[in-house]
Amino acid sequence: MERREQVLRFAQDDRFDILVIGGGPAGIAAAARAAECGLNVLLLDEGADVGGQIWRRRTGSLARGAARAWFTRLEASGATVIRGASVVDAARRADGGFTVTAERAAGALLVDAGVIVLATGARERFLPFPGWTLPGVIGVGAAQALLKGGASFRGKRVVIAGSGPLLLPVASALAADGASVRLVAEQARSRDVGRFALGLWRHPATLVQAARYRAGFVGTPYTLGTWVTAARGNGRVEEVDVTNGRTTRTIACDLLSAAFGLVPNTELARLLGCDRTDGMVWVNHDQQTSQAGVYCAGEPTGIGGVELSLAEGEIAGLCSAGHPGDARALLPRRDRLRRDAATMDRAFTLRPELRTLAHADTIVCRCEDVTLGAIKADWRMRQAKLYTRAGMGACQGRICSSALEFLHGWEADTTRLPVEPTLYSTLTAEPATSAPSANHGA
């Protein structure tokens, strides 16, 4: 058990001016800009590498385009980067600064920082339907993430059914890997969908081309106003039902990718007491949250795509470093991208039929196997949790409470440390500030 013995602790004089949590586009931009201002910056990310969801690289492959430029810039900026570090706690100290705890494979990591920039990104929204717990039913971005993690879906029959601009790029990535994509079904039907789906939402050009190529020439049908109603199989998904509200058909497949847009990761922001509006972290013009010294950039402030995440990250980096003047030039661009994001959001509005997919015996909370029928619609999230254990399991409601927010219009329950399950030994690691008392050997 020695291997987790080591606690990485920065000495007091090593205190960081700025700690950026999350190394996606927003976090990279924030860390680079702040470090370029001459400040002592640390960037922590839970992944094996920085890049976040979109710039996640297949191991060993090289970054291209904007990603490459930003990776280079981050490296040149002098910011310290630690990968594979999951932040599980952040607390304000009496002096106004913060102590942040992260878990790494090698042991706990404790960091003191004057200012925090939250760039924790987003996750996918999953909605329950009969059969969604079968192995082989995964998310849309999940398929991409697993591909980039080295998995292969070659020869697998895939149905993609969900919502949002990720469907086509993921279809193309799967097809490029040798999967046979049987159907791409988008639940929304509005006129704007095509515009966003085909790349006006600023995908990297290559992906857009690939998406067009696959969707246009390989013959994979891309249908609007179509959604999944059930998955079936013996121990794994074997077939799925899709409907357009009038006719339902069954398609045989080995993999179903089904996710319904993105939800922001706001757990750390909530733990730190940051205000939210409509589930998003509230920020002012400078990307500062309602909590002094806590900035937020990228998806947690509103789902808006990589360009917006970069713009917000740059602004957060400059403002947290005390250079709001330099950020002024970026504001109009950010504000325009936010308006685009709002349009996109409307284009992919979830249809009410999706609230009726789950039956009384359909599991809603996958960690604790709680069915929809066990949960009363006139409760609050906390009641569902206390009475049925929904949301009490390992994911702490990250999946079921996003679903219940949509199904019942509820709000998430309180967040407490650790924001994600962590090793016991991470929580017993002692911060440097209280180290002297340990020497007295009580």
Binding site: M1, E46, G47, A48, Q53, R58, T59, G60, S61, S86, A105, R123, E124, F126, T133, P135, G136, V137, I138, G139, G141, A142, A143, Q144, A145, L146, G149, G150, A151, S152, G235, R236, R366, C367, E368, D369, G393, A394, C395, R398, I399, E420, P421
Partner: protein, 95 residues
Amino acid sequence: MSATGALVTMAIDGREVRVSAGISVAAAMLDAGVIAFRRSVNGSDRGPLCGMGVCYECRVTIDDVAHRRACLVMVADGLRVSTHACRPERSEGPA
């Protein structure tokens, strides 16, 4: 697949497999044909859902530590994975 082409040997439920270095444990398991990673509270099989550390459906025991997320851990030579496992662990006391 890793650009370097290096391979490592790991064990999934005691079965040895050679996989590319630098891929996630979840990817290695899926490529080895394992689709059920854990058994749910009521006993049904579950596999990865989110692929990015959020859903905890990919929990397996890695090198004797239960409840590790296979999608976040990278393969390593000699790494041992067991599925469906949440057995008590002991580090001290008589056998």
